[in-house]
């Protein structure tokens, strides 16, 4: 059975100027032990999609569609049921720990144990032992449990976030830009920790990032988002080696490769669209080199082009 299935998920932010269509009709399915990379440029709706799954959207957001988690629709659950049975226990998150995601005046150990105590009937001492083991697991060392977040380096904060996300043995972990504010060396260390944990614990994850190389390294499936829509979804190797959607092709071409011959990096002309009034029909057509008449008139359907390979483009569906 699928672990998570998004079906026609939409999230619109109501503003005075109209609805901002941050997430507009996205669907994908992930199995247990899958790691799905959600990639796209800033403002394409990656984080909004995550907030919708966690039900952390701001009050002006309108969410519709279906989020089926282990067969249950998360959007139909009551607040208290969702809070008690899903949050952190089943679905946890890795926020950008290097930023502001840890409480400034609570000890990091207490921040982990409170998550355990909120969901499991354990003693404070047991919870502290678990937190210590998690700290050892991510390579910080349990002796740092009584530190405050400002006493940790950026990499340690991010590892703390990872340790915290594992506190209740969740079924799914959503990592939102887990390495964004870190320098490359620390980023490599954090990625190593994440990969080791994936292998050791068999985690299922959604990794949100604009960094394609990081997604290539950690994920086995990729979803490429553009202007609130998933334009392409499939196995990581297929998506990266044989991209079907022009946007995916452009995005990959815009990324430098350490191996292979040197080449000038391609850029994508134009600007990301305003999600208040996105372009009609295919949202990528103003920037697409292959745009045809139909692209300006009709929205491409999101179809299964190959086995487990989805794309929304007239070039393919024709």
């Amino acid at each position: 059975m699928e672990l998570l299935k998004l079906q026609n998920l939409k999230m619109y932010y109501g503003t005075l100027r109209g609805d901002v269509r941050a997430v507009d009709d996205i669907s994908f399915t992930m199995e247990k032990k899958d790691t799905v990379g959600l990639a796209g440029e800033s403002g394409c709706g990656k984080t909004s999609a995550m907030l919708a799954i966690l039900r952390l959207q701001p009050p002006n957001a309108k969410v519709s569609g279906e989020i089926l988690f282990q067969g249950k629709n998360l959007l139909k659950m009551s607040d208290s049921e969702f809070r008690k049975n899903i949050r952190w226990k089943k679905i946890s998150t890795i926020f950008q720990g290097a930023m502001n995601a840890l409480h400034p005046t609570l000890r990091v150990g207490d921040q982990i144990t409170e998550a355990i105590l909120a969901h499991e009937s354990r003693s404070k001492q047991e919870a502290t032992e678990i937190a210590g083991k998690l700290f050892d697991l991510v390579g910080i060392g349990s002796e740092r449990l009584d530190r405050y977040s400002h006493e940790l380096s950026g990499g340690m904060k991010q590892r703390t976030m990872i340790a915290m996300s594992l506190a209740c043995n969740p079924e799914l972990i959503i990592a939102d830009e887990p390495t964004t504010a870190l320098d490359v060396i620390i980023e490599a260390q954090v990625l190593k920790v994440m990969k080791e944990l994936q292998e050791k614990l068999g985690l299922s994850m959604i990794v949100i990032s604009h960094d394609l190389s990081m997604i290539a390294e950690t994920c086995n499936k990729a979803a490429i988002m553009y202007a609130g829509k998933i334009v392409e979804f499939g196995g990581i190797v297929k998506v990266f080696t044989e991209p079907l959607h022009p946007y995916t092709q452009k995005l990959i071409a815009a990324f430098p490769s350490i191996l292979g011959s040197m080449r000038e990096l391609a850029s994508i002309s134009g600007f990301p669209p305003d999600l208040l009034s996105p372009p009609p029909a295919c949202r990528f057509h103003p920037r697409c080199p292959y745009a045809m008449n139909i692209c300006r008139k009709e929205e491409p359907r999101y179809i299964e082009a190959d086995q487990n390979r989805y794309v929304a483009c007239h070039l393919v569906s024709r």
């Binding site: 809070r83 998150t93 926020f95 409170e114």
Partner: protein, 340 residues
């Protein structure tokens, strides 16, 4: 820099500030064109040769400036405990320290009641409003906060006197609060009755200060808390599946503890200046009313003014110091010289 050096440095700086204030206090009454002999003596007697000088000698006014200054400083920095106890009041010819000693408890009682009332009503109300931000409750608290912030305290006090005294008491004969003063005449018998009577007299003035002040406290708390609630770590707390109650108190409110403590500490000196008007309006014989009555333009009772200013300035400086130290206690990020 270790904590001890930091504390020592802060105490030295605080002492210097108090010293400067004391010096300014001294200079003001050197340049001020008031001679206490003018109102200490009958104008007829003032013509008697030598008498003015006798009086001036008695009050130490004929001494050279530097001697006066040194004596003055010694007088101030002994905080009225050692003779000459802040000097003699020109109005009563008693030691200023003695006069202050029996007025101070009344002022402290009034301000203490007002502060406690403001805090135990204002802060929970602010938390309540922040937890319902964007709703009508929230808007009502913001409105009330801005309104009472804008309306002068004395106006609220006059309105409340009008209501409770002129209306409820004089029209309907229901005496909820006494009309003024700080104790009934004749004085009640027994210590407990006296204390109860004084508290009864303090109730209306303190209530007016709470009515005029609590919404401001609520507004401050609400704004700081709403800001805290938008922080990333609150989103983390929510994602962890903690209850809204835990998020509000353990995560959001805990993170504003330093600011609340600072606000509380720094509000103490402000309350003292507020006491001047309140005590005058309600006829309470506290430090504020005493200070105002000593500020007569033609014959200021300057030993009193100097002593009160000195004590208030010391209070301001000490409160600042305490606020800084409290901040360090409540916020681990700015703890100085902490080693592990």
């Amino acid at each position: 820099m270790g904590f001890r050096e930091y504390l020592a440095k802060r105490i030295i700086v605080s002492f210097l500030v108090i010293f400067l204030v004391a010096t300014l206090n001294f200079l003001i009454f050197i340049v001020y064109p008031a001679d206490p002999t003018r109102y200490l003596l009958d104008p007829q007697l003032a013509r008697t040769p030598g008498l003015v000088d006798v009086i001036r000698d008695q009050y130490g006014l004929n001494e050279p400036l530097h001697v006066k200054y040194v004596k003055y400083l010694g007088n101030m920095f002994s905080f009225g405990i050692l003779p000459p106890h802040f000097g003699y009041s020109f109005q009563t010819h008693d030691f200023v320290a003695n006069e202050m000693a029996w007025r101070m408890p009344l002022t402290i009682l009034l301000l203490g009641l007002a502060l406690v009332g403001n805090v135990i009503i204002g802060i929970p109300l602010g938390i309540f409003a922040a937890s319902r931000r964007g709703t009508k409750t929230d808007v009502a608290v913001i409105g009330a906060g801005l309104f009472t912030y804008g309306v002068p305290t004395f106006f609220v006090q006059l309105l409340m006197i009008l209501f409770f005294i002129s209306f409820v008491y004089q029209t309907y004969g229901i005496k909820i609060f006494p009309a003024g003063g700080w104790i009934s005449y004749p004085n009640p018998e027994g210590l407990i009755n006296v204390m109860g009577d004084i508290l009864w007299h303090m109730a209306l003035p303190a209530l007016t200060l709470v009515v005029a002040g609590f919404a401001g406290w609520a507004l401050y708390t609400r704004n700081m808390l709403v800001d805290a609630l938008t922080q990333d770590y609150v989103a983390t707390a929510r994602a962890k599946g903690l209850s809204e109650r835990t998020i509000l108190f353990k995560h959001a409110f805990k993170s504003i503890h330093p600011q609340v403590a600072t606000l509380l500490t720094l509000s103490l000196p402000g309350l003292v200046t507020g006491a001047i008007i309140t005590e005058t309006i309600f006829g309470l014989e506290g430090v504020g009313k005493w200070y105002l009555s000593s500020l007569d333009r033609s014959n200021p009772d300057f030993p009193v003014v100097q002593a009160v200013l000195f004590v208030v300035a010391t209070l301001v400086v000490v409160c600042n110091l305490v606020a800084d130290l409290l901040y360090g206690v409540l916020d681990p990020r700015i703890r100085v010289g902490q080693r592990r």
